[in-house]
């Protein structure tokens, strides 16, 4: 019985933390936020070379072949420093190809995704805002051997930097008749809009398809047979977002605690007052708790246990509710300077606005759990 990380995993954590502290402190993060694509290609390239982007991609395709439990160590660290990168998007896109792609497709795409030279993104969400198969309405119409895609994907991650979209579409009216296709940004008939976001470290956009032609070698697996894979990708996405949220919550608490130790009012550091202490303690209780839930969910997904999807939903529901609150508390406990652009705490609050809906908000995950439990 052991519900903790191995020495190797802790070593990885230390390495990632050292790398990010040195190369991407918050001053640097602010510079990346101001860039067009919201990405520092050189840092991203280094992370690829270090084997971190392809951490969970099988070794025969250029990855490190490690499990999700190891991957969440990496994400906790990128979350702590609000590191802007298309890591989550690329990992989910690579997983789609790993799960549904042919050997030829894997050989063609996975090495680039693993080393970060190809940035991927999974496009599934549409105007219904549903994070499940019913939400996939983008239409795929067969034309000979090819498929024509028409419809709109919105709130797609990292549209400004992605080189490859994994697109979920509906190939027939039945609920499960969903499919996956690979689409590159330059495809004829595809329009991409990039949205400004509250959290400039996380980019979102819209893909508009009008008869975008998908040749057979760009379809992942048999048509109308991707339901199970898409469900796995949604679980994986929710897991990764929540793992990163652990680091973000801890970063917000650490930043606010440090401020509360320094800031003196009424003759004492404000951290001495229970009005400051107690909300921070509550925040710590919450992050430790959704941390336990996300660790377990990662293990359950690795093991493929039947409860894995529920475990993911518990973690994401908890995080979706508490991270926004932790951000709000952090800004309030900073007082006036919390409202300034200069202080960092506002960046954590903004991140919570991205985390809350990403891969389903609390409401979505509560109702998913209710189907099993109520």
């Amino acid at each position: 019985m052991d519900f903790g990380f191995s020495d190797e995993q802790e070593l990885l954590r230390a390495e990632v933390r050292k790398f990010l502290d040195r190369s991407a402190p918050l001053e640097q993060v602010r510079k990346i936020m101001a860039s067009d694509a919201g990405l520092d290609r050189s840092l991203w390239g280094q992370m690829g070379e270090l084997g971190w982007v392809g951490l969970s991609t099988p070794d025969e395709y250029g990855g490190s072949g490690l499990d999700l439990v190891t991957l969440i160590v990496l994400l906790e660290e990128t979350g702590r420093t609000l590191f802007p990168s298309p890591l989550i998007s690329t990992v989910v896109a690579a997983k789609a190809i790993e799960l549904a792609g042919s050997d030829a497709q894997k050989a063609l795409w996975l090495p680039g995704l693993a080393e970060g030279t190809t940035i991927g993104s999974f496009a599934y969400l549409e105007s219904s805002d549903r994070h499940d198969l019913d939400g996939i309405e983008l239409r795929g119409k067969r034309e000979g051997d090819a498929t024509l895609l028409s419809g709109t994907k919105q709130l797609v991650f990292d549209t400004a930097s992605a080189d490859l979209f994994v697109v979920a579409y509906r190939s027939a009216p039945e609920r499960d008749a969903v499919s996956l296709a690979l689409v590159e940004p330059g495809a004829a008939g595809l329009e991409i809009d990039h949205f400004p976001t509250l959290d400039a470290t996380k980019r979102l956009g819209r893909l508009r398809f009008e008869d975008v032609r998908i040749e057979a070698d760009r379809r992942l697996g048999e048509e109308s047979a991707a339901g199970a894979v898409i469900a796995q990708l949604l679980d994986l996405g929710a897991l990764l977002v929540t793992a990163e949220a652990v680091g973000t919550a801890e970063g917000a608490i650490a930043t606010t605690s440090e401020f509360a130790r320094q800031r003196v009012q009424f003759g004492s550091p404000i951290g001495r007052y229970q009005g400051v202490k107690h909300p921070l303690a509550e925040a710590h209780v919450d992050v430790e708790s959704f941390k336990s839930l996300v660790y377990y969910a990662a293990w359950a997904l690795d093991e493929g246990t039947p409860v894995a999807s529920q475990a993911v939903s518990r973690a994401k529901a908890y995080a979706s509710e508490v991270l926004p609150r932790i951000g709000l508390e952090g800004v309030q406990l900073h007082g006036g300077v919390g409202y300034t652009a200069e202080y960092d705490i506002q960046l954590y609050l903004k991140r919570s606005k991205w985390v809350r809906p990403a891969y389903g908000d609390a409401d979505h995950h509560f109702e998913k759990l209710a189907a099993e439990s109520l």
């Binding site: 019985m1 052991d2 519900f3 990380f5 107690h278 839930l293 518990r314 908890y318 109520l374």
Partner: protein, 386 residues
Amino acid sequence: MDFQLTPEEEAFRAEVRAFLDENLPPAGERGPGFNQEWDAKVRARGWVGFSWPKEIGGGGGSIMEQVILKDEMAQRRAPALGSCFMGLAWVGPSLIEYGTPEQKVRFVPDILDSKYQWCTGYSEPDSGSDLASLKCKCVREGDEYVVNGQKIWTSIAMWSKWMILLVRTDADSEVKHEGITCLLVPMDSPGIEVRPIENMAGTSMFAEVFFNDVRVPVENRLGEEGQGWQVTVSALAHERSGIAEFHGLMHNLEKLKDLARRCKKNGAPAIEDPEIRRRLLRAEIKIEAMRLNGTRYLTKQLRGEKLGAETSINKLHRANLEIELGEIALEIEGGLGALKVGADAVPDDGRWQHMSMSWPEVVIGGGTPNIQRNIIAERILGLPKD
């Protein structure tokens, strides 16, 4: 990460299960002598004081075995392992660490055999959360200590034969934690008066205890004079995963869901009400988080690390849940939620009414939620002390 048990651990789990199959009849089918028989049977197995060393009569169970035993017992809602509750929780561990050989022989076997009850004389009217400020006066006269003062919130004082008592032997000590001494006191000593306190649930579980020139032989001192504070903070390595609490809370939650299926809200089953659904699911997620937090504490213990302030996290969850489950229940009951235990129409024999009136036992008993928050903020987040 690995949730597998070793073959030895699996074998122990099977042994506990077999014992329960044989010796634990369903709740409705237990005769009047059941509790006594149960105490004797689990004692014979060495499962009373299971975390205590074998030399002293305990079970010598490893951390993992303790978890397995509690897990199985709690899943089946078995009675406690031994019914000398305070003796097992507080007195025994202190005796094992600080008792003289005579004291150990005199008291430990009786605790393990559930012979009589102990109570703990710690809190005072002016020393609750700030326990170390206690003032109960104690002066040595020859071979005796003379105690004058008052204790309060002393659980089961009226049914106890002995008390483990904290007194102030040095009123001038600069550090308040020093100058405290621990005594073992027979409750029939002349000068002791016990006045039960009625709680808001209408029952009396705790009492005020008054000491008026109570004489206690020096041989009944546990540890040295002035060492009382350390004496009561046991360093025994017992598991703290809280696995039994998890099963208790899940049991209540399942009952609550059942209530929500039976009761109506705005004309529809309460379980279809979006707000009730959310509150039930939020509670379920928190209970699961407690289980997993506890498993992380357990891992730390198994790796030989010491547990610190992190256990306050689950104490806070437990406190919140204890209140929240009762509140959800009364809201589900609607108008019936205003009835008292014993009322004719009260749902589920009034268990929710009882819960909603007795939560302070859990919530206040082991250190109030605000104290837990202070502990987390100061010891984990490094904020300045109050």
